[in-house]
Symmetry: D2
Subunit: 261 residues, 4 copies
């Protein structure tokens, strides 16, 4: 996280959505989707039943929000938050089928899936493990080379997307505390989650200054094309509103931008 | 089944494939796929995990066999053979996501899904229940109006496909005994399943004469664009070979034909 | 519902609990369990993952609340609210395994499962369909003849329990409007759900007078050993508190009573 | 594997059974069960639907074979052969519920579950990872301290069982090649699987001499109370028959023996 980066006047705000399952709601998609510029729709493996997928994609379309797929490990009970030791071939197949589910829902609604952002344990593993990152990037490219890969900024996930010839979008977080080494503070530690005011300040720093202030007060350089608002936070809507207000007040447009290069 | 129909010189042979799940194989796809002109690939709901879907579609492509989707009730343990009282909205969503899975696998292999044939209890219900038939036909059309709907010949399923403006393909069976009323004899009754020789004769009668001889010896008129070989029969490969030989010997081409109208 | 019945001084209050799944909470078990005298714990088929089963049983034990099993159709996405056309043998096996799950959790906590109350579509089907009712009653008896069967008051479910030689507990509802024919008003119709005050009055009428006032103002005779508080109502805790207050104020003890006969 | 051990005149033969699921058969339980002295019944998480659990337990009872539970990671598609990063609490709960399923089936058939043998990736992990081994041993003990824990001979799994105060049964393999370090040769390498004749010789060496000849010709000391016949081998029945003949011919009784100490 030491790359210099110019001030920018536009950023994407994204949210993970469609994570209800059957009778069990999750998140505040109805309120959150209108506040972001792109969404990542759960694909039925870690969350999201078919009716939820269709409803969520239709809601995004109705608000003009860009639709992406949010595949995870096939493990509903664990919500895709625990590692599952899949072979590359099984992971590839799972990704293709998961993304295909959201693509079908998008086609039904007259749009297309623009990007893919892995979920949970798969996102984290792709950020650090080259084989996982490459399996994901190649599955996405082989399915549709026009898809954008979203991953943790400056991680192996992004490197694999670049190597696969995919457009990519680097992600930073408004509502999570960064540590001095650039990692996110564990949710198990105090101060890991930021409230609306701090999240707004962090989003502005990311978008305008390309920096974040870490837990120890040090300032980190961070490169981000998109900022994530976690939909499963109880404050998600308040955070999204505060982040929007801060960005717009600083003259920064919130829009789902085309991929780098 | 009283429509007169002319002798024809071409017919589609189809098989339900990709019905393995995880460690559990089913059918003889490797041997059967080269013998048919189109396949219906299980979509992961009643059978078929993602790796199986990709492998099966790739196998069909390698043999130049036309790829279709074979969605069923989401009930692995029951193999889609027992009715599940889904709302039309839930059934529609399930179909879209299931077909989307096979579409993604097809896209990965450089082809497209040409048709949709419901499975098991869903196939049977669509044949007799207008609401189910209409839900299926409209889901297929709204996902892609170029898809062909495959259903039991002269059933509500076909009527709903026609009403939805879809091309359709009417199906008859080579390896099952028909009753005098045009229904299939229950698998629970003796004589329900035909061996290779009888199946070949029945296939030839369907393709050339547009008739079948029912269990009571009466001759029924039957209109069919495609003949199904059940892949889960122990004799499936022998039946397919006998049917092919009989048809080809009678000068009938085996090919996946374009839809009516 | 025409059986005469004497005023009583004790009634069971029950609630369906443990219906969370993985990351998705449902109900207010922590607050509701201390207010009832027995609970019906979801068994992992329509809801309830293993950790939830253990936690819920432990919570019931800690409050001295009687533990029962609450098996349903194996259909998470549908929450056991849609009929699944299982064979009697498959239904029997599913019930045995589901009840076994809660029995194991109870054994771990030093108690035993006292009763079985089917859930959702299975409860409703058992109330009207003799074959389903008999399959349930015989599975429960064959697993443990000391189990109590809970079912809709004066329904086929209870008749089958009696025929199987099981103790049984007839159930009425505090928080749902009855129709003049003794059925519950559909949740889809206005006025189906009662608020705390009306629920308290209805519970008192059931417990003390063995009557309910139906939607058309007529008074029905109703025999009940147990009154259900629906945990998935947003008002569940308020309803339970109001019902308790009304019953206790009228000198009626709330306790999980031994079965009839 | 360097412990001296006396010649013995009795050994247990065990098989993993009940690993069918819904429409998909696995193994040759009907033929294999009569040939062994104990079985490990899949519990519905990695394999085995409820009807299969009941049928398999009934089959074992009818042949006088001792019934055990065979819990695995909850991952049907992966057949419990890939690691799933469960928390100890979630693993404990999963085990309790899985064992409870087989206990209920056993109770229905008038017997009890005598032992627990973990499956696949869970078995392997427990053999080398103390935390996993302890979680398993304590879950088994807390559910029923009379249960016997079956694990890889001289592994952490056995050590944890001993520490938890459980009786245990150490397992060796007739039909798999051992390496010089006492590990099993990977199924991916040539010569990993032994045929009937070699398996019979190895079983006899294990039972009578407490040794095996490793792949490099060296002789290892091995301590085993039970010998596993893998039911998913195509040769399973032939292997079991050859092993029986060899053992019986050498005067060794095949019986499910009470636990050590």
């Amino acid at each position: 996280m030491d790359r210099l980066a110019a001030t920018r006047d536009e950023i994407d705000l994204n949210a993970d959505v469609g994570e209800s399952f059957g009778p069990w709601p999750m998140g505040a998609d109805d309120d959150l989707i209108p506040l972001v510029s792109s969404v990542n729709v759960a694909c039925g493996a870690h969350a999201g039943d078919p009716a939820t997928i269709l409803r969520t994609v239709a809601l995004a379309i109705s608000h003009g929000v860009v639709v992406g797929a949010h595949p995870g490990y096939p493990d509903l009970a664990g919500f895709g938050r625990r590692e599952l030791d899949m072979t590359p071939a099984d992971l590839r197949a799972s990704l293709v089928v998961q993304i295909g589910a959201v693509q079908a829902a998008a086609r039904l609604g007259g749009t297309t899936v623009r990007h893919v952002k892995p979920h949970g344990a798969l996102y984290n593993r792709a950020a650090r493990d080259e084989r996982t990152a490459t399996t994901i990037a190649e599955a996405v490219r082989d399915l549709d080379p026009g898809l954008v890969l979203v991953g943790l900024a400056e991680s192996r996930s992004i490197a694999a997307g670049r190597a696969a010839g995919l457009a990519f979008s680097e992600e930073a977080f408004a509502d999570r505390r960064y540590e001095a080494d650039g990692s996110l503070r564990s949710r198990l530690r105090a101060g890991a989650l930021l409230g609306p005011e701090d999240a707004a300040a962090q989003a502005l720093a990311i978008a305008r200054d390309r920096t974040v202030v870490a837990g120890d007060g040090s300032r980190l350089s961070v490169r981000a094309d998109t900022i994530c608002i976690h939909g499963d936070s109880p404050d998600a809507v308040a955070i999204a509103m505060a982040v929007r207000a801060a960005l717009i007040g600083a003259g920064i447009r919130i829009a789902s931008r085309p991929p780098d290069g």
